[in-house]
Amino acid sequence: MKKYDLNDTYIASFDNEKAITTKNIQVFYGKDQAFFNGSLAFPRYKITALIGASGSGKSTFLRCLNRMNDDVATVKGDIMYRGLNINSKKINVYELRKHIGMVFQRPNPFAKSINNNITFSLKAHGMKNKKQLRQRVEKSLKDAALWDEVHGELNQSALALSGGQKQRLCIARAIAMQPDILLLDEPASALDPVSTAEVESTLKELKKKYTIIIVTHNMQQASRISDYTAFFYMGHVLEYNTTKNLFTNPHVKATEDYISGNFG
């Protein structure tokens, strides 16, 4: 196993508008530190991919961004979103998660109808108007490129959908909250190539309206869909650049080895 210098990093900065910025994120599971230095600025309306080997801390980092680590881990550092440090105790996390949605590795639709999968959280957040709900269901399913396939069977169980459809339903459910930012943790890794392609093309459409941060194991996927890429290694971000530059001209040895397959 090769050892890489954890201080040898290359974090590019860009002067476009940022959706969310992290400073010195450190994460501890109990006493074990799993994440050491996360300072990244995520450009708005772009797709940023987080790549790296298994256990490098990609999920750990991603889950900080909408406070999903709250009951699991201790997170230190600042996360700036709309001028607020959202990694503070004072933040209303329920409200925050409406702005920063999440899609998980395994499709996890609720055991409800397709329609209720989307309306459940909307109703829980106080939306009562039937017409409004119906419109929101239609719009989010259209945005998630699922409408054409399911509009005739909105009352059917979501559990009967295919894997790719389920995952797009989860995307629809997340964007029905009209978030700013969409976090996706390996959304296609449990899917076959066809479903993966569906999800990827959906994401490319979505970046017109949302800032997307996606964890992926798959470097082809990262290079296909993302504008920016961050390379994670043992709880450190070693390199961050435009996807094009990171893949064609890596500055850090670890990144170079990882993308060329000579890693570890």
Binding site: V93, K112, S113, F120
Partner: protein, 295 residues
């Protein structure tokens, strides 16, 4: 050994063992039904029992068993639901360890001991007397561990991803539990309730000293549970079907004790079979209904 032969032998052994279990079960059930069903007539089900004479029925005992079961569920279900949700969704550390140990101890107590305990405390000390209420308390002691564990399991069997989905949509943990986890757990909970009902329905030892061994004449037209003669009065003694069978076989004075006992056993088994089968179907039905509800 050749893995294929080993596999065949293993299959053979397993199938044989399964067959033995099934044969025993079928034999037991059919023996009881064949011996008992001939005595089950409309008269048998609708007549009160006799103390000395032949020709008594089991009307009151059957009703008592059902009423006792319902009262037991009314007492034990809310407690078990709370404890089960706590253990599955919030429990960690000392308190849940304490609850788990308590449940374990409770479920390992012999039923006659529980019966005597409730007898001494409720029947004698609190002057409640032999009553459906005392019986229901005793049965609650049995039902609570089974039901709590069943509810905990039903909640636990809902994947954690569902909780994360709820949380990530900005819902509180509680809203996620009530709106997402609970509906998915309902089929399992219902199945558990019905299966535990079967056990409660057939329990005798704990009831001998609590709900008592007499079936006083009650008025089925009196719907006021506070009237002494009302069939709904929970303070009256109430012999159940299982206790009736036990009594007929130990000190039955009626000449047709054996027949009545056989008939009662058949009814008891039938009811429990119905419970078990309906648990299966109702669980499946509810799951389908809930997961794709058209509302």
């Amino acid at each position: 050994m050749n893995p294929r032969i080993a596999n065949k032998i293993a299959h053979g052994v397993i199938y044989t063992l399964v067959a033995i279990v099934i044969i025993i079960l079928i034999f037991l059930i059919s023996y009881i039904l064949v011996n008992g069903l001939p005595y089950v007539t409309p008269h048998f089900l609708s007549a009160p029992s006799q103390v000395m004479n032949a020709g008594g029925g089991i009307r009151d005992q059957l009703f008592n068993s059902i009423y006792l079961l319902i009262l037991t569920l009314i007492i034990s279900f809310p407690i078990a639901l709370g404890a089960g949700i706590y253990l599955s969704e919030y429990g960690s550390g000392k308190i849940s360890g304490l609850i788990r140990t308590t449940i374990e101890v409770l479920s390992s107590l012999p039923s006659i001991i529980v019966g005597l305990f409730v007898y001494l405390l409720f029947v004698i000390r609190f002057h409640i007397g032999f009553s459906i209420l005392s019986g229901a308390v005793a049965l609650t002691f049995f039902n609570l561990p089974i039901l709590t564990r069943n509810i905990e399991d039903s909640f636990q069997s809902v994947p954690n991803l569902q909780r994360e989905a709820g949380i990530s949509l900005g819902l509180s943990h509680w809203k996620t539990i009530t709106g997402v986890i609970f509906p998915e757990a309902i089929p399992g909970i219902i199945t558990g309730i019905i299966l535990s009902s079967g056990r409660v329905f057939g329990e005798a030892a704990a009831l001998i000293y609590t709900s008592g061994q007499s079936a006083p004449v009650v008025n089925y037209a009196d719907w006021n549970p506070f009237d002494a003669a009302s069939f709904l009065n929970p303070m009256r003694p109430a012999e159940t079907l299982a206790v009736h069978i036990w009594k007929l076989n130990t000190e039955g004075l009626v000449p047709d004790a054996k027949q009545i006992s056989s008939g009662s056993s058949a009814i008891l088994i039938l009811v429990i079979l119905i419970f078990n089968i309906s648990a299966h179907f109702l669980g499946n039905y509810l799951y389908r209904h809930i997961t794709s509800s058209s509302k």
